[in-house]
Every structure is written in structure tokens, then in C-alpha cells.
């Protein structure tokens, strides 16, 4: 059984609003084992709505429509729905009472525009909307498709995200589950850092080729991180989950050095959790990353329990003054060097009085590169209670991505050290 989503709204087509409704709907449906076949995003015109509804019904048994209904008068969706289903708008007492009660709660009189919203197509089942004045509408229609039995289901919802979400959770998804009894589906996303998509693909090729047909793999790259998503489908939730977990474990055994977590894990949160478990504190000393590592760490609620602060030493004078780096070290090795980043880590450990320090110095670009140290050259040092070590990396030539890759690499180095991995 296929589901399609149609989103109606000019604001989507001019790029003013990002279509989070479709992704939210698709995510919720997938979690329940439904497969979404297509999203179609169209404007607020009669012909386009009719065309999209017809084509969606030919491909899929269930069509979810959001947007195009609401109190403002440019909404032509409802009359178009009547044309499509060969019905007409009639005044619905029950719907009007709902609208009245919403207005009463807000202390207002019902306006004429909102009274109009109680007119609904005669041949639909209304779906209550506790949070707004536009009802959902559930229609069924014969769409002649070879090999298909039964009618296609069309469900129209408002485009306001929280109204649509409440309707989906409380009415639509439960009703679809009763009708269609979907297959079990299970996703697990493995998160890797420090290796590009094509190198990763080469290393895991044999494992990937041996995946059972019920499990699919997708590569989802971001700057500094590649996510590997395993999706299993079949009968019985426990069986599907078991098969996916088994493959995830095999994968972990092949690339243990690159995996830092799964699903919604964030490196900065994992590092924070490890520090809390050890009852240890963290500080940072940043040059080229310019505060981005501190920002990632402090974006986690509760990070003040382990994170003490940072010295962002963009200028060499600040490195000398606040981190105690000797002027000779700059002269002899340059600011982007193992020596300087090591002294930065030690200086921060002392001055911030913390157990662990991440220190970074590099050439983020676009300027500042040399033949010896091109843009992207980055040194990272980690100071621990026992030692200080440093590593050199060569990232790319985009300033934004160099900052992000350096930050994630630095957090992962600390994560591995906290786990005793290197």
C-alpha cells in the first residue's frame, strides 16, 4: 500500500517556507510501517490541485493533502475538493459548534470568514481540529487503476503544522493502521566521522553486497560526518529489529574507528556524557575554529556541569598572554604547528583549571595558506590528566566546512581518548 503527500501553498513554491510538513508526515508514517511513495508540492490553483489529486490517486491508495484550507479567502481548495468528489458544500452544525467554542476560549466573537469554515463537502467524514478552525476531511473515491480493488482515500488537512500534527497523531494514523495493518519496519542509522563517503563505501563494499534483501543501506553525508542508514522491512517487529541490529554489529566490527554513535546521537553530547560519567571537566583553546567547538558543546543543555570555558586566541598576542605560549615557539614553528597547539592545550588546562582540553590551530581560509601549510591544514591537541597529544589534518578549501570538520574531528579525538581507544 502506497501513501502520497500533496502540499498546497504558494509560500512553498517561492521558497519562503521550507516544507517541514512533508518530512514530519513521512517520518511519522514510516515509524508506523507505512511507505510514502511521493511528495507533490503545488500552488493554490484549481487546475493544478485537480491534476495532482488525480495523478496521486492513480499511483497510491492513500493521498494526504495539507494546506490550502483556512480562514483567508484566497483558499479555493474546498470548492475544488467538491468538484473532484462530485459533491457540494453544506453547513455543518457540529463543525460550527467547534469553531464557536474555539473563539469563546479566546474571548472573541466568530467572524463571518470563520463562519464560512463550517461549510464542508457533503460527502466527507469530518476530522475534528482542537487547535484551529479548519476541519480535516476524509474522502473515498473510485479511481480506476488496473489490478486495484477498493476506493482511494483522500484526506485533507490544514497546513498549520501543529494542527496537522495533532490530526495525524490522534485520528489519521490510528485509522490507517486499523485499515491497512502495515508491515514492520525498523531503521538504524550508524554515524561515522573522519572518513569520506567513497572511502567508506570501498571499505564496507563486501558487507554491503552481502546484506539480505530485506535490509537496505543509504549513505547520508554531511560536512565531517557520514551517516549510514539501515532499513529493515518484514513481518514481526522483533525479527526485523534483530536482523538490522545484527548487520549493524557486523558493520561496527569492520569500521570501529570511524563510528561514534547511532541515530540522533551528537558528538558533543556523547563527549559530555563521558565526561559526566568520569566526573571530569573540559575546557577548550580555539584558534581557527573561533568558538565553534565551544558553541557545539554549550548547545547541549546541562553542559555547564562539565564545561568550564574557553580561550579563543585568534591573535598570537592573546595566545601568549592568556595561554602562556612563548614568542619563540611561534618564531620557530609557526602558529599552525604541533608545538603551538600543544602549548595551547597545556596553557588552557592550567588557566581554566580543567581535566581535559581540546586545542585547535589551523588555516581555515580563504587567506593565510602557504606552500608548506595550505588552507585546510589543522593541528589538534588533546590534553588529558595524563598526557598531551597532537595530530595534523588536511581538510578542504571551504572556510565554513574547515571550521566544522576541525570541530567534529577534535570532539571525536577526545571521545576516543575518553573511551581509551587511542
Amino acid at each position: 500500500m502506497n501513501i502520497e503527500i500533496i502540499n498546497i501553498g504558494d509560500e512553498l513554491l517561492i521558497g519562503q517556507v521550507v516544507n517541514t510538513n512533508a518530512s514530519w508526515m513521512a517520518e511519522q508514517l514510516n515509524l508506523e510501517g507505512f511507505k510514502v511513495h511521493q511528495f507533490t508540492i503545488i500552488g493554490d490553483t484549481r487546475e493544478h490541485i485537480l491534476d495532482a489529486m488525480w495523478k496521486a490517486g492513480e499511483r497510491s491508495e492513500v493521498v494526504l493533502i495539507s494546506g490550502g484550507i483556512g480562514p483567508t479567502k484566497d483558499d479555493i481548495t474546498k470548492t475544488t475538493l467538491c468538484d473532484f468528489f462530485g459533491t457540494r458544500l453544506v453547513f455543518n452544525e457540529e463543525a460550527y459548534k467547534d469553531i464557536e467554542s474555539i473563539f469563546a476560549r479566546r474571548g472573541y466573537e466568530v467572524t463571518e470568514l470563520n463562519r464560512q469554515q463550517a461549510y464542508l463537502p457533503e460527502d466527507c467524514t469530518g476530522i475534528p481540529n482542537k487547535l484551529g478552525t479548519a476541519r480535516g476531511m476524509w474522502f473515498e473515491k473510485d479511481i480506476p487503476v488496473p489490478g486495484r480493488t477498493g476506493k482511494a482515500i483522500y484526506i485533507s488537512m490544514p497546513g498549520v503544522p501543529f494542527e496537522m500534527q495533532a490530526m495525524m497523531k490522534e485520528h489519521i494514523i490510528p485509522e490507517l493502521k486499523k485499515r491497512f495493518h502495515p508491515k514492520s519496519i525498523y531503521h538504524k542509522t550508524i554515524l561515522t566521522q573522519g572518513i569520506g563517503e567513497s572511502f567508506l563505501a570501498a571499505i564496507i563494499e563486501k558487507w554491503e553486497n552481502n546484506l539480505p534483501p530485506s535490509i537496505k543501506l543509504a549513505y547520508l553525508p554531511q560536512p565531517g560526518i557520514v551517516r549510514l542508514r539501515l532499513t529493515g522491512t518484514g513481518d514481526g517487529e522483533a525479527v526485523v529489529r534483530g536482523l538490522v541490529d545484527e548487520q549493524a554489529e557486523k558493520l561496527s566490527a569492520i569500521i570501529p574507528d570511524y563510528i561514534f554513535g547511532a541515530d540522533d546521537d551528537r558528538l558533543e553530547a556523547i563527549v559530555g556524557q563521558l565526561l559526566k560519567e568520569k566526573n571530569c571537566t573540559l575546557g577548550t583553546a580555539e584558534s581557527c575554529t573561533g568558538g565553534y567547538i565551544a558553541h557545539l558543546i554549550t548547545s547541549i543543555p546541562g553542559s555547564s556541569a562539565y564545561y568550564k570555558g574557553s580561550i579563543i586566541a585568534y591573535d598570537n598576542a592573546v595566545k601568549e598572554q592568556m595561554l602562556g605560549i612563548m614568542p619563540e615557539t611561534f618564531l620557530e614553528f609557526g602558529a599552525v604547528s604541533s608545538e603551538v597547539v600543544t602549548e595551547m592545550a597545556i596553557g588552557a588546562q592550567t588557566n581554566l583549571n580543567v581535566d581535559y582540553v581540546i586545542a585547535v590551530s589551523g588555516v581555515a581560509g580563504p587567506g593565510g595558506g602557504t606552500a608548506d601549510k595550505p588552507v585546510g591544514t589543522t593541528w589538534i591537541a588533546i590534553a588529558t590528566p595524563d598526557e598531551v597529544f597532537s595530530k595534523e589534518y588536511l581538510f578542504g578549501d571551504s572556510r565554513d566546512r574547515n571550521i566544522r570538520r576541525a570541530a567534529l574531528q577534535a570532539l571525536n579525538l577526545l571521545r576516543k581518548n575518553l573511551l581509551g581507544q587511542e
Copy 2:
């Protein structure tokens, strides 16, 4: 002339990734006077790609396709394109050289998977990709549609946002403009900080109601910033531009205190420019913003010319040690107070040896709020060569948005001071 967008990717259909590519493409096309008719989001299967391409070509003269090309083998888009256009994959020397040079810059050998990317459909024009190994492809095909002359244009791009964006800006949009000569359209976006959307709407209501019909206004709110985009359409670029600029000036006269720039201006870049003009230096002292202000400032290339560094004092001990705040000040006034934030600014000015300092201390949340100082309470101080002043703000209850709003408010306070406005 209509344009459609097809996005290929299972990750979109399961809701794991929000489709920002479509909205970005639509926004850029609209800015150039093109109308986007539909977005179609589909999975990575041959039949579905063929069906979507065919239907899009029937509705629209130009079809932009993103996603489904890349080094990993779950990509079947390229062979499907060959089927659709009745052509075959051939090895493209020029494309291979580009791939080699990208790998050489990164210091790697070309892998077999990446070598495969040099195979391109014979009957397409390649579009170079400076940022990745997948080329864009420009096809033209006869799609029999009553009343239409000329071939439909299909352009396939990678789904990686920054690769797609560079291709759109550098090749595809300029080429489409040459072919289709869209109506003159001119946008000017006025950037405001420090006022919410509905308050702004109330202040500028009269001006908005008097806008000429050829000019449209859109509110584009972001945390801490509301952008007001004026779009004029008509014949003759100079005329349209003149009308829009006239309205923008009227608007500026109504809300001078809230406007900080226009179009792609960024507060952190404006502040940097003003500092450069004065030949002055800047440092920061951050508590609740946790490095985000430093990150914004250092995201600007060349910021090392004026930005010296920051002390991120998440912990009070660091505030004492690195910024010289007296323990009594915490005891008497609390960390989120005018007194502490003022001492932070003075301490940073001395220790970082800079002309100007931004200092922030607040309750970002979700924890840490009290009846006196609820979540969102934030003190900002600015130290200048002549004085130190501080202001209190009450932002909302979301940690992420509080951090962002505090950072933008602080940058704007400094901007106004540098301009002698307060």
C-alpha cells in the same frame, strides 16, 4: 515559462532529511523572475524517476533534478537518464580530469567508484562541479505538448546542497536567463533586529497598505531577526528598482532603530567593517552564548584583522581567574547581573588588550531560571575606549533561540555604538 523541481532521495521520503534543496532552488529562481510550478519528491527507483520526468516535462519547459547522483552504487539515476533520453554512458576525459584534480588537491588517489563518475550520458552537456566529483548534466528532449514549441530542458544535479548551489549560481541560472529573458524583477530585503514580527507589522501597517500593486511585501522571520522583502515586478530594470528603492527609503524612515542592513548583510560582517574603518580591535567575553558570538564573528573571512579573541567563561571560577571578577560581585548581584557583565567587559578589554568588548551573561535555559531571573534573562555589556554600558533583555524559553537572540542583540548594540547611535 514554467520550471519544475524533482528531488530524488529515499532519505526525503522517510522524513529523515528536510527538503531544503527545493526551497533554496525555488527562492533563487524567484529572485531572478522565474516561476516554479511544482516540486516532485520521489525515491531512487527507475520507474518512478521515468514517470516523474515524463509528467514534469508535460507540464513545464524546464525540469531541474537534484539528488540520485554520487559515488555510491545505490545511485541508479544516471542509467535511468540514459534510458529516458535514449543515450548511453561514455567515459568523459574532461570529467575524469576534474575528478583527478579534486583528489590530487586532497592528496588521494582516485578510487574505482569515483572513476565511474567520469562515465556520463553521451547526449548531454556536462556542468562542472568544483566542489565534488559528480558533474551536472544538461539535456534537451522533445516532449509532445499541444501548443508548445521547442524542446523541454532537463538539468540533473547532485543532491549535496553546496555542490547543487554552486552549479545553480554559476551555470544554470545564468544560462536560463540567457534563454528565457524573464520579466524584470527586483528584490530588496530590509533587515531588522530587536522587534518581533507582529509588533513590526503593527508599526508599518499604514505604509504596507499604501504599497503600489507592482510591489509585494513578505515577512521572513528568523530567531532574533525579521527580514522584510520587497519585490517589484515590471518592465525595465531601472524603473522597477527605482520604485522598490523609494519604498525601502520610506520604510527606513518609519523604523530607523530596528534596521541594521539590507539583503545579504550580516550583522557580524557589518560590525567587522565598522571596526576596520576605525582601525579598532574587538574581543568578547561570553557566558550563556558559549562561544556563539565568537563563532559568528570568526565565520567572516579576514576577521583576524580586527578580532583578537574571547574568554568564554561558562564557569564562575573562570570568570574570576581569566576576567578578574571579584567573588563578592557574584555573591551580591549574581552571575546574571549588570555588575558582573560590566566587570566581564572590562576584564576582557584589559586581558585581551582590545578597544571594544562584547560581554554577555544570561540564563539560556532550560534549567537555571528563578522567579527573579527566569530563563531568557540576559545582560549584555559593551566596553568601548570611552565607556562601558550594559542592558538587560528578556528573551524566550528556547535555549537555541535564546543563544541566537542574545548574540544578535549584542552585535547590534555594538554596531549602533560604533555608528554613534546610542
